[in-house]
Symmetry: C2
Subunit: 125 residues, 2 copies
DNA sequence: GCTTATAGTACCTAAAATGATACTGTGAAA
DNA sequence: TTTCACAGTATCATTTTAGGTACTATAAGC
């Protein structure tokens, strides 16, 4: 997904829309937020199991960005084997209506069986 | 923004969230949709003027994708100089609650003066 | 005759974002 | 003793996305 990173956000008033999208627009951020909204607390591999196609590299990256943006909190237990819990911060929870709107729209308009979206132009194999 | 394009969307139920994000996650799609929701009809250069930093190349690309995804309708008038109108389709209008949620969240949580977002890691110049 | 506006296109490049694969150290379970 | 799970890293390559600049045709306005 395109990270939106204009130096100047001078496309007001609509640009907060872009700004919001930039924050949750990582390839897996939406689902991660969704699951954390559902489950309160999840460990790294618990999230991973819910996202069958994510690589640990990507999941780490997405979680770190969500953490940097203040949406999730990462709690490391000094145990062996390692134990790390992820949960939403208050700021992260404020995204609930956004995620809910996306979910509602998706449920109503996305056909999961048709696994390829129109604009995903793929050359005829 | 990362286009989401897994071959199999088997991360249900949360993955419609990703699916939805993939559709509106182009760098300028959010703002374009926002403005079209506000104004009903806009011509190419009218949109362009509302997005000070967009290049015609990018704007065309975003509009074409929105069109391919069935969100906007492109109406060409066979005139000279050219006249092309863009407006939302019914499908595009169904995104209204999503855009509204993004806008509301952004208005509440994004500081437009602080032009750089936390996760936009930029090396100290 | 020159400039402007319209709605783009073409070509090239740079910068992100994503992906594949292999690997780490430790303790417990088999 | 070998294997497993945990929570990641490291390294590499590929794919996408975005941006820059220049250019098109035509008619109207000056």
């Amino acid at each position: 997904m395109p990270r939106i990173r204009h130096k100047s956000l001078d496309c007001s008033p609509g640009c907060v829309v872009e700004g919001a999208l930039a924050l949750i627009g990582g390839k897996w951020k939406g689902v991660v937020l969704y699951h954390l909204l559902q489950e309160e607390v999840l460990r790294f591999n618990e999230i991973r199991r819910r996202l069958p196609n994510v690589t640990p590299r990507m999941l780490t990256a997405q979680l770190r960005e969500l953490e940097a943006d203040g949406f999730v909190e990462r709690k490391v237990y000094p145990e062996v084997p390692p134990k790390v819990e992820y949960r939403l911060t208050r700021h992260g929870m404020s995204l609930a209506p956004v995620i809910a709107a996306l979910k509602a729209w998706g449920d109503a308009h996305i056909d999961l069986e048709a696994r390829v979206k129109p604009s995903a132009k793929k050359k005829a194999a």
